[in-house]
Symmetry: C2
Subunit: 507 residues, 2 copies
């Protein structure tokens, strides 16, 4: 209808298109726009159009009465040119929202429904509140197995998809929740030493003290261009990079932006999220690690089995070769929690350092063994032994060093600390429980992952005998304020339970 | 933790607290804040704190690195002083969100749960996406009857509540959806002439071509201070004002801000919304009008009955004397659609003008009769006759004129039009259906309710015989662009069905 001048408003609204109209804008009044209305913005010269949610502005420094302000991502989508003419109209609700309403009413949706939803979400036609409505409708008992499959397929099809041109492209994924669980950085060099292709991209920490990308960054560059990444994978058969640059399963990123603040984590969304990303990244063989423990994401063997079946059903239907491994999630893996401390653990294991944490080594060997057995030439049950041989021989270390060199070695590796504080057991007994959530929280307050050298270093694990003055762990921090917060939290609750008897019952 | 300087960002985010941090703000990095995180903002001098959703800014003109920008409503909540010191920390999720997650998982919540949710929403502790999650969880088959009761009670208790100090305070409410349905402006003067207290506050149009407040504004001031409103009600026994100024059931306003863009309208939310507002406004006797028709909100007699039972159950439990009337919603009521046209219809009925629309008169008398029968001195069945006597005698008109004078007569009543276009039947036959939604849409495109004189004036109703050149309605508009859009839409589909046979079957 009316014409306005486009202007960027330098606000990052995180995956939501937001437009800003001045309250005195003639169109605002005459069209009866309201804040939170969705409007369609059309570029006059090329007809390109986007949908955005409207906010109303009372300051010409942000948007004037003859202008249309748009947030950063919307500005990009419109071509990134200020001053061009745009028209604005009421947006129709995206067609696929009807399917969301049917889902809310209890219907089972089909693939075409999910494809419509994924296409509209990928095109930024959904507002955050519409995405929230979709997520809640799908949550908990709301998704049939086939619906998870349809959603996963729809999420893959609405993004780019890598093709490595090889029959054996492997990947692994842990559903998360266990601090220090940095097995990936041991597994990748082992598997690549055997010659398998493992182009591993990982995320940064969202709510945890370190993601694999954060930990690898202690040793090497992880933000690589797609070209560089491909070149490294071709020469080294592997990489350990940050996955944030590719446009793989973009719907997943948009959904996560709403799931995270909602604290939602339904099995259907979890499976669709992981499998869509892995398949889009070109993996055709995948090992999924589901840790079980009282303070892990999955608390009982029963719920782990339900999740496993769902992974298997969707994975098999999509033609990916998938193995689910249920692991021990009762306590952190390794000793360090925080990027530099975890990188130290990983390098100790790869270097066959006699002081290396045994649990990290064993878990990594177990998972690497399962991946190696994807090789048709390897006899069932021999994977673990092969993985151990590769690690013990130093070939995994050499491969890791080659990957670090290829990605670009970090010339200034962070120091650990420098502030440090020992937390003592405070009583005689045996460590009978360690709270993953509490330890992760303490490490985050200490500054991890932003401060690479901050975190927690564990000295005692389950079953260890302690005296009152035994240091159970050390807190490291870079800044006094962080240091104090972390120490205070540990003083309230160390996260350790000290008892008299301990029976080692793996979940 | 760290301290920043408060600054207002002149953006109206419509019922959501939004805060803006510059990307280079030290706190943004060190605290690991992310866009869409919720943060707690504490005023340093008096300790007052609020919750807001974070957006990240790249322009110091909006928010500088040492500042914390907040949207208009958050700025008000913090006391409205720029430059004061505030601290910022990660906000804990509101406690009541656990109840929302239980609701999502299929639980039935109790009153304490709903009270916690309402308190947190009223205190702006919920983000829009959290509210969307709550609404979807409550939607459709999701709320037990008792839960609707608890939600309604919780919404009443978390706001102010008026007490008129009389045993008979009456109100009426239509669930909406029928253009031209301006019975309230006929009913209020009739009921007040009888001496009953009817302090009527109404809304403005949200998605319709006119609300009662928009239509009354054609004749008189409707934005009245609480003091003025009370004084008018005391002297005239009634008012016809806009209800937007009072803080009655504020949770309802916040929920509607999210329901509306989500296009959600579940029975439970509808009942809780209407009853909480009416009870908070001090009504103790209430008539609810539920129009039934193919293009009304409620399409079948069956679903109307379900809604009626829900209204009755919750109303009875809360001690309000409530009558539900199921009415004919097959077509618009009266002739005019749009503020000035509807005000004309109302004044014709009140003036006993022989050309006044009969259906508006009859429906208003029917509803007014039901309200009059709340008076214990009036015999059952006599209400309609009394209402008709009051109207025919001119007492209702005199009361309306007194209310208009008391509220402040509009010195410049809008003219209808001036642009006008007749839409013709185009064929011989009988009007067999009129689409409420299409007529409302045409009237809105023509400029209603922003342009008070714009809208649609119907010349034919159901059962009327037409020839090809019979004008079925006239479109009025103030601006050529609006005029063209409305005419185009009417040319695509007049909203009228012309057939050969018509059987008058009231739903």
């Amino acid at each position: 209808m009316g014409t306005l001048t486009l202007r960027q408003v330098a606000i990052d609204t995180y995956k939501e298109n937001v437009a800003y109209l001045h309250r005195d804008c003639k169109l605002y009044r005459s069209e009866g726009f309201q804040a939170l209305n969705k409007i369609e913005i059309q570029q006059k010269d090329n007809g390109r159009s986007i949908i955005a949610v409207l906010n109303v502005v009372d300051d010409v420094c942000i948007t004037g009465p003859d202008e249309l302000g748009v947030c950063e991502q919307a500005f990009e989508q419109l071509g990134g040119k200020a001053g061009i003419a745009v028209s604005v109209a009421h947006a129709r609700a995206p067609d696929s929202l009807k399917a969301v309403h049917r889902k809310i009413a209890g219907d089972v949706l089909d693939f075409e429904d999910y494809r419509g939803i994924a296409l509209d979400i990928a095109a930024n036609r959904y507002s955050k509140i519409e995405i929230a409505a979709f997520l809640v409708a799908c949550s908990e008992l709301g998704l049939e197995r086939d619906e998870v499959l349809y959603l996963t397929r729809a999420m893959i099809e609405t993004g780019e998809r890598l093709d490595w041109g090889e029959p054996l492209v492997v990947d692994k994924h842990c559903i998360g929740g266990i601090p220090g669980n940095r097995t990936t950085m041991v597994i990748v060099p082992i598997v690549a030493s055997h010659g398998m292709l493992m182009p591993k991209t990982s995320s940064r920490a969202i709510t945890s003290p370190a993601g694999t990308a954060d930990t690898m960054e202690v040793l090497a560059q992880v933000e690589l261009s797609p070209d560089k990444l491909h070149q490294i994978v071709r020469s080294e058969r592997a990489c350990l990079a940050w996955g944030g640059t590719a446009r793989l399963a973009p719907v997943d990123d948009i959904l996560i932006a709403v799931e995270r603040p909602l604290l939602m984590d339904s099995p259907g969304q979890l499976v669709a999220s992981i499998l869509s990303k892995k398949l889009a990244a070109g993996a055709n063989h995948l090992v999924i690690d589901i840790p079980i423990g009282a303070t892990a994401k999955v608390r009982t063997r029963n719920s782990a089995m339900i999740l496993r079946k769902l992974f298997e059903y969707v994975g098999d239907s999509l033609g990916i070769n998938l193995e689910v491994v249920l692991t021990d999630g009762r306590q952190p893996v390794g000793r360090g929690i925080g990027p530099a401390l975890e990188a130290r653990d990983v390098m100790q294991v790869l270097s066959n350092d006699p002081t290396a944490p045994v649990d990290l080594r064993e878990k990594a060997l177990q998972l690497a063994g399962r991946i190696l057995e994807f090789d048709p030439d390897i006899r069932g049950g021999q994977g673990y032994i092969m993985a151990r041989d590769i690690l013990d021989s130093g070939r995994a270390l050499a491969k890791m060093q080659a990957i670090i060199e290829a990605q670009g070695k970090n010339p200034h590796p962070p120091e650990i600390g420098p502030l440090r504080h020992d937390v003592l057991a405070g009583q005689d007994g045996i460590v009978t429980a360690i709270d993953n959530l509490q330890l992760a929280h303490i490490a985050r307050l200490a500054g991890a992952p932003m401060d690479q050298g901050a975190g927690v270093d564990l000295h005692c694990k389950l079953g260890d005998r302690v005296a009152p003055d035994t240091p159970i762990y050390t807190i490291y921090a870079a800044f006094p304020a962080d240091f104090d917060f972390a120490r205070e939290l540990a003083a309230q609750d160390t996260g350790y339970t000290i008892g008299e008897h301990y029976v080692d019952e793996r979940p």
